[in-house]
Amino acid sequence: MKDHSCQCLEWPYPLLYDKVQKVTTDVLILGGGIAGCWAAIAAAKKGVLVALVEKGAIIRSGAGGSGCDHWESAATNPCSRITPEELTKAMIKAHLGYNNGISHYIECREGYDRLLDLERIGGKIRDTEDEFQGAEFRDEKTKFLFAYDYENKFTLRVWGTTFKPALAKECRRLGVSVFDRTMATSLLTEGGKQGARVVGATGVNCRTGEFITFQARATVLCMSRPTRIWLFSPGLPGISEFRPPQCTGDGHAMGWKAGVEFAMMEKSVKGEWSGIRSFPPYGTGNTHNTWYACNMVDADGREIPWVDRDGRILTDISQRYRPAPGQRLFLKGGGEPDIPNYEFQWPDILPVEKLMANGFKLPFYADLASMPEKERKAIWGLMVGEEGKTKIPILETYTEAGFDPKKHLLQSYGEGWKSGGFLPQERQFFGLPGGMVNDWRLRTNLEGLYAAGDQLFASNCHGHAAATGYYAGRHAAEYAKEAVAIIIDSKQAERERIRVYAPLKWADGIGWQELNMCISRIMQHYCGDIKSEELLTTGLGLLKDMQNNEAPQLSAKNPHELVRALEVLNVITNAEIVLNACLVRKASSKPLHFRRSDFPEIDPPEWNKLVTIKCEKNEVATGEKPLDYYGSLKRNYEFYNADYLEERQS
């Protein structure tokens, strides 16, 4: 075979830099991951025209496109022993109030509805082949498999690799106009004014470079949380972060420029996952998440004890999946806080310090072989296999290399599920990070603009993305039915076209990787673990300099590089939002993982509130909201969703 890895190729797609495609629709969905596909389905079911814009291809794109092993907060499933109200309140309390009561109540209330929808369109949500018949975690009547808390049964083990292709097919069946390989670049507002009604967006095709304008009555932002802010590798950008590299938080950046209000953007946590700092997610021996509650042994094969929240040694495996005596429930899954919370603490192995003191020797290993057969198969084969990014890179690759869960011990690295060690300044948006402020319709502060999934503040997992996506899609459609169509501002679109194509002017300017590396270095130095006024303002100044001097020299030689360059410009904007939000909160905070050397007091009562920021007349405008601004969960939900409730009942 002729080796094409070292020769020049002609760009294989037509180049359409000189074309502008104009699209008019009722509801425009930006981002075709889990939230975006569900939003498109909900809107299309309402009988309106829907356009869905996705940078990759909706069949597998987004953070949840490759799979999902467990579906959290399905509180309305028939086996659940907890109400949506109780579970949402627990989730809020576990984060000391810093959570999105509205979006998580939607998750608890409607997540199970989405699972049933998935089953109808070809997703697998129950053990139809009776593979796990008789297992403690299986409900024999419904054939549902549960994870974590077997008493309360609100988290389901699912076959999530079947989900995204089913959603993509359903979008097309419902007549959604899908714009794959299209990066949304900006929001268009009425009269081109910041803070005005959103009337559409612009995009650029990632392969042809064609510029597209979308005019819409309503728009739903469904893109990723910001990434590549602190963590970046210019040589291996693909594995710099946990999420796919093109999930850069473009929605946050374009929302900021349009005047969207944000909350909790000052929160960042020490890195959880990154291929450049840790081993592949779910690919090492541990006891968390997908691997809960696997047996562990030390270097000599000595079994590591499990304890409940009161330090009582658990004598059998079944106890690891049940709340402690006197405990109502425990919270475990993808979004648990790093801060231990006695009320919701899950059973765990003894802390490392105690193990060292008791003579346990490193390294530790996951011992699947000694797990009961069905628990072993649920971890290795079902959860490792169905979880995103595990079927090929972990399950198949390890099996091919000779790993046998019945014979081998898999080594553990770093702390728990993190699979590696991070420095305090190597930070990420993880565990309920910042995002857009929403009301009970999942509308942002801008008329015509809705948000779902990772776009929202305190966003979480797959079930949250699905439930909020569907919810935002149907509310956007309701709005679109009544709203007057506004012609997009041609001058605003033209300004954006010029901005988008600017990197093509330079044959030999600055590469996107260099600029991204520089941003992450600035953020590690000036917005690391411990922050201060001077650090943050200096960091902002450095970013501003880069914005003025280096960013205009960004260079791209083809549409693919152009998209990467535009992403880096968004990373700069997102870094600026973070720095500004950090400046506003003049107190340290435990639940926000936020430390200021100039304001060391932790969570003083006057700062127990959401700090909000937005861009107004191109200046930073700040505000605040009480932590419980969501009000009465049940009453508000039922008030805003009477139609949906009636529809589901019938």
């Binding site: 075979m1 002729k2 094409h4 890895s5 070292c6 020769q7 020049c8 190729l9 002609e10 760009w11 294989p12 180049l15 830099y17 000189d18 990759g56 291809a57 069949i59 597998r60 794109s61 496109g65 490759s66 690799t161 390989r181 392969r207 470079g209 040589g235 291996l236 950008p237 693909g238 594995i239 796919p244 590299p245 093109q246 291929g275 081993f279 592949p280 690919g283 094969g301 290993y365 011992d367 000694s370 990014k389 079927k391 090929i392 890179p393 198949e396 690759t397 390890y398 790993f403 014979k407 081998h408 011990l409 898999l410 080594q411 690295y413 093509l504 030689k557 083809n558 693919h560 990467r564």
Partner: protein
């Protein structure tokens, strides 16, 4: 803006995320179409394996392998630095 012919040079990356077997791969390009990062392009000659033009951007998600209809045509190479260790369990 006037469009002109553009050429690309597959980037030199420290890793080679994908390996194709020419005898098995028939160049159907399903992997090209599923890759959300868009690191592959179709081979200039029809029926030949795609070309990995942006290897450094690979997310190692494996969707390309999962969608491939020809077993063994495409292989995902875990980065060497990310290879984990396991050992035989010795039963007492």
């Amino acid at each position: 803006m006037k469009s002109k012919k553009v050429f690309i040079h597959p980037e030199a990356a420290p890793l080679k995320p994908l390996a194709f077997k020419a005898g098995i791969c028939d160049g159907c390009n399903r992997c090209v179409e599923v890759c959300q990062v868009d690191i592959l392009v179709p081979h200039p000659e029809k029926g030949k394996p795609p070309v990995v033009v942006f290897p450094g951007e690979c997310w190692y998600g494996g969707c390309c392998v999962a969608i491939c209809p020809k077993p063994g045509a495409i292989r995902l190479n875990t980065p060497l630095m990310n290879r984990v260790h396991w050992k035989q369990k010795i039963c007492p």
